[in-house]
Symmetry: D3
Subunit: 168 residues, 6 copies
């Protein structure tokens, strides 16, 4: 696998596709089980009326954000069921934060493991499922909500090294 | 439920939260089982190198987009498992299209049902899971891929009427 | 199926086991799809210290009960995956209430459908999963928590008629 | 995590809720993967007619208890899907025993692992799912069955040490 | 869809692939929800020693066949999760029979529904999962067990009409 | 467990059934986590018309085989959910190959792990789910397709040693 490496740890090919074009779950049995983390973020843009409701103006906001937070945590655990070529791994911790801003909801998920693959996909899945749950929660009030800017901010651990968005 | 309606079918409150703030799965047993559709879109922004690979330059692109398409279809079926307050419904058709553009992958999902609730969440989930799968597929080459602009474009059927993004 | 009926709608045999003793999922295709409800209750007995914590004394109780409520709702949807001979049905509404008492947490789940089988098992599963989640939440503080008195209180709809616990 | 410890290994706070009240999956990556066991018990109280049927009087009891036993074993594997903040762990063994008594069915589940968290929740879930399956099996004959006294009897392994119900 | 029909109800094309070659879940919302059944069979060939064990010679056969029967029933319910383009449908009854012969285990599954698609895939999946479970049960004794001859024997209902293997 | 061993590593009893006949998930916590592989094969026999279609004669074959390949990979991950007494294990790689022959589709699955149990069941499940997906894909054209000859070809690793079909 190393021959395809460019400086900085990036592969030059789609590793999930073999030379004949067939999808496969890449063998990671040679990789070391080490501490790894990933942090991903995303946003849901909603109408001003929804921002009011999520801030609890005019009615108890109650479980609204809790539902999305819990859905995100549970979603992280389902990553290998959803994404065909993801390895099943032992997630050792998940945190999902939701912050209501003037234009929507900012979501951050942090996932930890001590396993053979990184947890970027788990963090992105946690953000995505939390975002979908926010949209579900508000869709009767605002059909035009948009999920946007879901991306990895940072990862640590593993052979390809640490990564920080916007850094080197 | 009708008293909270504003013109155009929008509710004024978060219907998934009761007056005490507790989350609930809203009772839809009184709703009619009718033909309903929803179409959602989204995009994954990737590096130029990934665009080349997804277009099959330098290697067979093979299953790359197929994996995402199938993951999206299967993801639509898992919507009620992922989103806590979604009703389990009988999806009667799903189509997921992926188009490689100069800056990434455009994703469209169309979902149909003949059941008691709309399928907007199913369409959004199909797009989200397809997008996550694209990111998984390319992440060894491009760690900075971004999922963006996931939104409902159109829905038909149901009591709240048809909806078209940007229309009335 | 009617020949085995006793007055009051009870069968005299285990309907899920055929005459040779083999388990089967009973055919319900002849049953009518009608409105049905079920309400089940249960309790988790916990230590006085846990009661304080769940009431928010000394720390924010925050999501503690929300997590159990949401787990109960999601659990109801998983009933046919967990209970081998349960039919997959279209749940049309779920409500899970948790009340902190002086000795623990009282749980009530109400489930509705418009389908071919009753939803008693869905209501009991919602209560059970909510109760397990309460135990998980408090187990670091109180290893001796007990789940108890999980039972159907009431059901309506279906050919066997309405049932109310302690009634006829 | 140690500062909150009381003598005997109990925490003083709900560890699954952070200082702001938000639910999280606690990070266990620092915990050691060691041999751990848990044993949980519970009971289903049923009518005398059901006791007869489960003992095979008047018809073959056949698969009745097998279905519950197998459901319990499979339920243990689903614990992290059902209980939002449970870690996915590698269960290495499960045993579920059901004994028909004069008043119902006594259930015992023993779960083993060699992983980073205890398996109390897995054992309690196995008992709960087995109990729900018994209720499903008998509900056509006895609508009033009650699931009761689900509790951890014993656990071994892990930093918080061994626990035996009624002991110290 | 009718133009591609040959006499006898067979299509001339792969209906799950559209004209561009993309997989899709075919829209069945126009199909009628009617009573449908399917029966599928299959076999597991095992060694003489395993035949003895499954017949209970020298040890109680106990749950051996029950486990496979229950796995088959539960497997039928999971068909739309396993097979990407299968529609989620409301199964209304499942029966799985296992018969020990001199050379192995014969498996028959019968599935019923009152929904928009046939249940051939559900019946085939029930047989497959039951067969896999038999192999799992005996593999410590006989590593060479073979699953074979899994096929639809009969179907009724639906627009394409009844089908009987070897018939017209 | 060793006392029941015959030469060559075969057990003389059904290890998944205890002395009373009750099913159990065997405790593997004492087994070593080592590199293990398994390769299984199977076939789907289809009509000449289907062979033409799968070879892309007269229409783009497109995703037809991709869907089955991906379903097989995802199926391998679901093995412990489908087969009641299978341990949940960390699969570290899966490869599913499909080859169209003159009489059908030959399927091979190779699964790797670094865990406490072998992966024969995962490889067999991958083949079975891929085969079921092929049948689903072609069933509108050929109702008589047959899944056959699903078997383990080879395994390596683990205490019982390597195995090669037809070898010693």
């Amino acid at each position: 696998m190393s021959t395809g490496n460019t400086p900085g740890g990036a592969e030059r090919h789609l590793t999930h596709i073999d030379e004949s074009g067939a999808a496969r779950m890449v063998d990671v049995s040679e990789k070391e089980a080490t501490a790894r983390t990933a942090r991903a973020t995303g946003r849901v843009r909603v109408s001003p009326r929804v921002v009011e409701l999520l801030r609890g103006e005019g009615m108890p906001k109650g479980d609204a954000l809790s539902v999305a937070r819990i859905a995100g945590i549970m979603g992280a655990k389902r990553t290998p069921e959803l994404i065909p070529l993801c390895h099943p791994i032992a997630i050792s911790g998940v945190k999902v934060d939701l912050v209501v801003t003037d234009t929507g909801v900012d979501i951050t998920a942090t996932v930890r493991t001590a396993d053979r693959t990184g947890v970027e996909m788990e963090a992105l899945t946690a953000v995505s499922v939390a975002a979908l749950t926010v949209v579900d929660m508000v869709k009767a009030v605002d059909k035009a909500a948009v999920i946007t800017d879901i991306q990895v901010e940072e990862k640590t651990g593993g052979k390809s090294g640490d990564y920080r968005r916007g850094g080197s």
